[in-house]
């Protein structure tokens, strides 16, 4: 694949413009990428094929055309799962990003003990979804956990954060905001990369801090903000591990944390319907692709690239 495109690259009119002379070297540099793509595309192709089959993991797949997609249209549980996922995404992503950006800006202003704070805020993201973390959640959000004991001080009888279908999803949102450290670190790295001299030049020109924020920080940070937004959306729409650990794989209580990704996992691995699971995955692929594409289109109006 890379060799044919490489030949085209040589005769590219762009080269003759002079400015980009020698960029065909990209095709050589991208050889590992191309091999990696192959590793990825084969499984992709297979799963796309499986979406049109009846495949139970244990026997060979059989072609069923659009049946899996027809099933999706009449599957109330899939609709529930889609709703859970969208609600979660539209609540969790903006809150997480706002918190992460806010804290990153605060830390970037120069604070004594910065490494300590940064590490402390990042810690929840380090721990992973181990067995220990499940126990931890219970000690915090359990019926007699820290949160409810705290509320009891004020005479409030706290709900079952993890057992009540009306609260479970909000508890998951809280947990996701708690993990804002990852995006915070990216914001911080982005802020650090803005050349100081821009601010100095602006100060010389007499620009206020607010003006500096909107005319230097935001434009120069916008690629990073965009990155966090795109990744936050993708990650959140694909939520799996948290939901799996939280409900022990059931999506409970009463399907209130039945994320789309969890549902398709159940279909594929627990109900032996990998054909349907693949169809669900490709439906999800298209939806996420649309979200991402819209994001990229809109980004033209607010993301600033220096090229």
């Amino acid at each position: 694949m890379s060799s044919t495109t490489a030949e085209r690259g040589v005769s590219s009119p762009r080269r003759r413009k002079g400015a980009d002379a020698g960029d065909r070297v990209a095709y050589v540099l991208l050889i590992p990428w191309a091999i990696g793509m192959l590793f990825t595309l084969i499984p992709f192709g297979v799963s796309l094929y499986l979406a049109f089959t009846d495949y139970d993991l244990l026997t060979s797949p059989a072609w069923v055309g659009l049946e899996n997609f027809a099933h999706f249209a009449n599957d109330p549980k899939a609709a529930t799962a889609a709703k859970v996922t969208l609600v979660y995404t539209f609540v969790a992503v903006p809150i997480s990003l706002a918190v992460a950006l806010g804290i990153a800006l605060l830390l970037n202003r120069g604070v004594r003990g910065l490494p300590f704070y940064r590490s402390a805020f990042y810690l929840p993201s380090l721990i992973g979804a181990s067995v220990a973390i499940v126990m931890l959640w219970r000690s915090i959000f359990g019926h007699a956990g820290v949160v409810n004991r705290f509320l009891a001080f004020f005479g409030i009888d706290g709900p079952g954060w993890t057992t009540d279908p009306d609260w479970a999803l909000m508890t998951l949102v809280t947990l996701s905001v708690w993990g804002f450290g990852a995006s915070m670190v990216i914001f911080l790295a982005g802020l650090r990369q803005i050349p100081r001299m821009y601010y100095e030049a602006a100060s010389v020109d007499g620009a206020t801090p607010a003006r500096q924020f909107f005319s230097i920080t935001m434009p120069l940070l916008s690629p990073v903000l965009f990155f966090n937004l795109v990744l936050g959306l993708i990650g959140s729409l694909q939520t799996f591990t948290q939901a799996y650990v939280f409900s022990g794989g059931t999506g409970g209580p009463a399907d209130s944390t039945l994320f789309f990704n969890l549902y398709l996992y159940q279909q594929g691995f627990q109900r032996f319907d990998m054909g349907y699971a693949s169809a669900l995955a490709w439906i999800m692929f298209v939806v996420i692709a649309i979200f991402t594409a819209v994001n990229f289109l809109v980004s033209k109006y607010w993301v600033f690239y220096d090229d």
């Binding site: 085209r8 590992p32 990696g36 590793f39 990216i186 030049a201 990998m274 995955a281």
Partner: protein, 308 residues
């Protein structure tokens, strides 16, 4: 925007001079801003938040010093009864001493970091800084690989690796990192590289640098904070990865920490909670340590690396 242009005009000299000026900015960096009152308020907010964020670690450390029976009974964060035996017991409770699993995890993490840093930065450089036909579609393909839920490709992927004879080796867990298969990091680095002033590249070109020299001597040093981010994220992801090793490894001798930690758990009988928490703490130390070291580069990124 005018401020920006003014600043940029000032830098339109040679890459060398620009970079050296970028390096000097660090001298201003650690200056503390704000009035004493606002600084105090800032600390109050940060410490309050820090406590909330640190609670899990404190809880786990505390649990690791409690006897198994007390882990959930004893609700105080300071154990009423200290049990140092969890560490000794946990270290030797499994088939191999715990350092075996730590070593395995370390090998996987180091290989993944190397792989991701090298392959993703080269790939990102091509997408962000070079112009060639097919660039956009190739970048789009890379992004697209992030969008499909991973569960449906597990089995085809397993079959591919199985056909290559890679089962029960580290190859399925490390080789993909060297092939820029992590679209997340490629995207991250593309975003950072596109954020660098384009004048750098123009200046380098004027100085007679080809694309590879430019990558090596201009782009790479300036991307250090982002590369540190990649390294930290890779370390965490690799260190915590459970499902990959679960599928691909069968020999205890090859198991990384997350698989080992599960072996304290019993489905039918009594689980060893105390030792499990103790070893969880032990296994957290490298991650926390790596983050502490890594974040220095996040801060000092440009200041410490620089160019020749």
């Amino acid at each position: 925007m005018t401020d920006l242009t003014a600043a940029r005009v000032a830098t339109r000299t040679s890459a060398q001079r620009l970079v050296s000026r970028l390096r000097t900015r660090e001298t201003y960096r650690e200056e503390i801003t704000g009035t004493p009152g606002s600084r105090f308020l800032r600390h109050v907010v940060l410490i309050g938040l820090g406590l909330v964020m640190l609670y899990p670690l404190i809880w786990m450390v505390s649990a690791s010093f409690k006897p198994s029976a007390d882990v959930f009974n004893d609700t105080s964060l300071i154990p009423t009864q200290w049990d140092l035996g969890n560490y000794a017991e946990g270290w030797s409770a499994l088939e191999f001493p715990f350092e075996t699993y730590l070593y395995n995890s370390m090998v996987l993490a180091v290989l993944n970091i190397l792989g991701n840093i090298i392959s993703c930065s080269i790939t990102a450089y091509c997408f962000a800084r070079l112009r060639f036909p097919g660039r956009k579609i190739m970048f789009a393909m890379t992004l697209a690989t992030m969008l499909l839920p991973s569960h449906v490709i597990l089995i085809p992927q397993y079959i591919v690796f199985s056909k290559l004879g890679w089962i029960n080796t580290y190859l399925p867990l490390t080789v993909p990192a060297f092939l820029a298969t992590n679209a997340f990091f490629v995207f991250l680095l593309v975003q950072f590289m596109r954020g660098l002033p384009m004048e750098l590249q123009d200046a380098a070109r004027i100085d007679g640098c080809g694309p590879i020299r430019t990558y090596w001597s201009v782009i790479l040093p300036l991307t250090t904070p982002a590369l540190a981010t990649v390294a930290i994220f890779t370390f965490i992801a690799s260190w915590n990865d459970f499902f990959g090793p679960l599928l691909y490894l069968t020999d205890q001798m090859l198991f990384p920490v997350p698989l080992a930690l599960r072996q304290f758990m019993s489905a039918q009988g009594a689980s060893q909670w105390g030792p499990m928490f103790a070893m969880s703490i032990v296994s957290l130390l490298p991650v926390v340590g790596f983050f502490f070291i890594g974040q220095r580069y996040l801060i000092n990124g440009i200041a410490t690396t620089g160019m020749k």
